[in-house]
């Protein structure tokens, strides 16, 4: 009789003696053990590695020194400027940077965790009977420290470049650093409670404050109103911000540390998976893929939606769905609305000539999230194959809604090109309107190019370089989209008529929407080569026959 047939009751087994309880290793011991293993496998020490990479280290030191020198020079030059524009920028831009840094720190923290763990840690360590909070403490401290450093750089840089004095730079660097650190700590404290509503709300509030601050720079520079903020008042307020941020940081950090053990493993691992996915995409310089990962993650977080019935038939159905999806995830519209301030700010700050370039780049960044439909339809071709339309018509339908929004953006930004800041270029209304339309077209088409760009083809022939072989697309991939923005706005930069820009935009649109991209051209080239080879073969055969005769 086999054991399977016997049934469970027939098995005789020996009652095992109660196992002796084991003392689990502490997280510190485990970390030391892993460090020892890693160190044991190392084939080079830090000094040797730096010796190998001395060119890179030398270049980094040189470039760093140059950057610091440029910043100091710019600070000294701008500090002498006493126009209304300079004063408004000096007084308000550090505030905008302060609020924007908090908003970004909160948004990034919410997206990644901020406390996270890799898949390996999740599988091998988080399952073990060890204190999870002790294990994760270094992660929390690391995230807070990283935010502190990033905040200090941003705050210091903005205040220096707007001409603040040494004290002002130090105060704003400290305030922005502490506010960024406290934002991460706050998000971590919320993560421990599995709550994200407050973090979400605070992100929007500080985002709106940042845009509001930018608007007030424009208002003060244009002379619409005065805020009466002197350098001294700004420093005093900055010190108050330092005190407030420190208080929030201390309370949030303590709460976050106490709640570390409560964070679910899935939440920790999803942050880790996101980081590894995004870092992989960045390693291949595929920023589109990195964005896809974030978009997918947001959709998974949402999980379920109330289905909406479509409208229309044919292409109309596709356009209608684009519209519905926009209302389902409306955040990109807010970002688009915020970018309206860019041309006004650039003009008010006396950078009239560069305004179309800055505005086009801002619109380019804001339109990309509105082109998710185009991205999905062009990245693999599988879904587009299900639709009974040519690719050009599918693309047109996918960009119809963003194009309408870009049109509205052009109308709203037209007054920015009339000229109202110090030393601004004055343009008549028709020319200002055409400039705004050309700028909007540049931003839209740049975003279309960026969105439908294929990833780098690592199977293509490589280019040899000092740093090793790399596919040629690796470098050009970084500039996709930016190139269209720059080329389209170049005539405006050179003081030519906006019609030149509109002409370039028309050519770019024809190329982008008719799929005359590099891949299609390569495919056509391959087809032609195939035909040539066939003709050559036929000629050779004919010649061989003649010779036989």
């Amino acid at each position: 009789m086999s054991s399977l047939e016997a049934g469970a009751d027939d098995f005789a087994y020996e009652q095992p003696s109660e196992p002796k309880p084991l003392t689990p290793a502490s997280p510190g011991e485990l970390k030391r053990l892993m460090k020892d293993w890693r160190a044991g496998r190392a084939t080079r020490n830090v000094l040797q590695a730096m010796g190998d990479a001395y060119v890179a280290v030398f270049a980094a030191v040189m470039i760093g020194a140059m950057v610091v020198n440029v910043i100091l020079k710019a600070q000294r030059t701008v500090a002498q400027c006493t126009s209304a524009t300079c004063l408004s920028a000096r007084a308000i831009l550090p505030w905008a940077a302060f609020a924007a840094t908090i908003a970004v720190a909160l948004a990034v923290s919410r997206l990644f965790g901020p406390v996270l763990a890799s898949a390996a840690e999740g599988f091998w360590l988080l399952d073990a009977p060890i204190s999870r909070s002790k294990l994760l403490r270094s992660r929390l401290v690391g995230a807070i420290a990283a935010a502190f450093l990033a905040g200090a750089v941003i705050g210091g840089l903005i205040s220096a470049l707007t001409g603040s004095g040494q004290t002002g730079v130090l105060v704003w660097a400290g305030a922005t650093a502490l506010s960024a650190a406290s934002s991460v700590a706050f998000a971590a404290a919320q993560q421990g409670l599995e709550r994200h509503r407050l973090t979400h709300l605070a992100t929007y509030v500080f985002g709106v404050l940042a845009v509001g601050a930018l608007f007030s720079v424009v208002g003060v520079a244009a002379g619409w109103f005065s805020l009466g903020l002197s350098d001294d008042v700004g420093i005093e307020l900055g010190l108050i911000m330092i005190a407030g941020s420190t208080l929030v940081l201390l309370i949030s950090a303590v709460l976050a540390a106490l709640r570390l053990g409560q964070i679910r493993r899935t939440r920790l691992l999803s942050g880790g998976a996101l980081v590894s996915g995004i870092s992989g995409a960045f390693f291949a310089l595929d920023i589109g893929l990195a964005r896809d990962i974030v978009v997918e993650r947001r959709a998974i977080e949402r999980g379920h939606v109330h289905p909406k019935r479509g409208k229309g038939l044919g292409l109309e159905a596709l356009i209608w769905r684009e519209w519905q999806r926009l209302w389902r995830f409306p955040q990109p519209i807010l970002v688009l609305a915020a970018t309206v301030v860019v041309p006004y700010a650039a003009d008010a700050l006396g950078m009239s000539v560069l305004t179309p370039v800055f505005a086009a780049l801002a619109l380019f960044g804001a339109i990309i999230p509105l082109l998710n439909g185009l991205r999905v339809l062009t990245r693999t071709g599988g879904l587009a194959r299900c639709l009974p339309f040519s690719l050009a018509r599918i693309k047109l339908a996918s960009i119809a809604v963003p194009a309408i929004l870009a049109g509205v953006w052009a109308v709203v930004t037209t007054p920015a090109y009339l000229g109202f800041g110090d030393g601004a270029v004055d343009r008549p209304v028709p020319q200002a309107a055409l400039t705004a339309v050309a700028t909007a077209a540049a931003g839209l088409l740049g975003a279309v190019r960026w969105t439908q760009a294929k990833g780098v083809d690592f199977g293509a022939p490589m280019v040899a370089s000092q740093a090793g072989a790399f596919p040629p697309g690796l470098v050009t991939n970084l500039f996709r989209g930016f190139d269209v923005c720059i080329i389209t706005t170049a005539p405006l930069l050179l003081g030519l008529s906006p019609w030149w820009s509109l002409g370039i935009a028309g050519i770019a649109a024809a190329i982008l929407l008719n799929s005359m991209d590099a891949e299609t051209l390569r495919a056509r080239q391959a087809e032609q080569q195939k035909q040539l080879a066939e003709q050559r073969k036929q000629r050779t055969e004919a010649a061989a026959k003649q010779r036989k005769r």
Binding site: V295, E296, H304, L318, C386, P388, F389, K530
Partner: protein
């Protein structure tokens, strides 16, 4: 009895990756009501052949004709006639299951899209998941959604790459019956499969790829 017309005609198809020839001088004619099963071990070239048939890959030589027209993936006529489920099918991350099907039904101009969608949704047993976003579906549910995209729209030719993948036993049995019924209604089907039950129930002809090697 109605005369069977040729839906798919493949002549002298060749595909090679460097020195490795996947298939050469491959000929095939599929008429209405015929189902061709492609079998063979992993790497035999089933998926590559199907990708060449739908225009997702470019053969080195030979031609593919669908309903008398040369295969051109970008052609709206071909997209209207050929429904495919191969590995490159993507989904909108922010559209729910039912909205994907509704979009396809409307894009193809189906007169009553709601009814068509409800019917297919019930058939692929995704009614409870109708409001879910694709990222939250299990791999089996994603496969059912992929199959639903092929069944919710009009079609003359179905091209499926291992459609049984990730389906449970009941799912495979359902799929076999569904494809059989499609064939009996006059559709032409070409599919690659490792599932003997599916091949036996659906196929009118079986082509084993890479047989010479093994």
């Amino acid at each position: 009895m109605a005369k069977r017309s040729t839906i798919l005609k493949v002549s002298g198809l060749r595909r090679a990756f460097g020195p490795n020839t996947i298939f050469d001088k491959f000929n095939l004619e599929v008429r209405t009501g015929e189902a061709i099963a492609l079998t063979g071990r992993n790497g035999a070239g089933k998926s590559t052949l199907l990708r060449c048939l739908v225009g997702a890959d470019r053969p080195d030589d030979g031609s593919v004709e669908v309903c008398g027209n040369a295969m051109n993936e970008a052609s709206p006529e071909i997209r209207r006639d050929v429904a495919t489920v191969i590995d490159d099918l993507d989904f909108f991350p922010d559209l729910s299951v039912v909205e994907h099907l509704d979009l396809l039904a409307r894009a193809h101009g189906i007169a009553d899209p709601d009814e068509a969608v409800d019917e297919v949704l019930e058939e692929v047993q995704l009614v409870p998941q109708s409001g879910q976003l694709p990222g939250t579906l299990s791999s089996g549910q994603r496969r059912r959604l992929a199959l639903a995209t092929a069944f919710v729209r009009p079609r003359k030719l179905l091209i499926l790459d291992e459609p049984e993948q990730r389906l449970d036993t009941e799912g495979v049995a359902w799929l076999a019956q569904r494809l059989k019924s499609e064939r009996q209604k006059g559709l032409a089907i070409v599919f690659a499969s490792h599932e003997p039950e599916l091949v036996e129930t659906v196929a009118t002809r079986v082509i084993q790829l890479g047989a010479a090697r093994g």
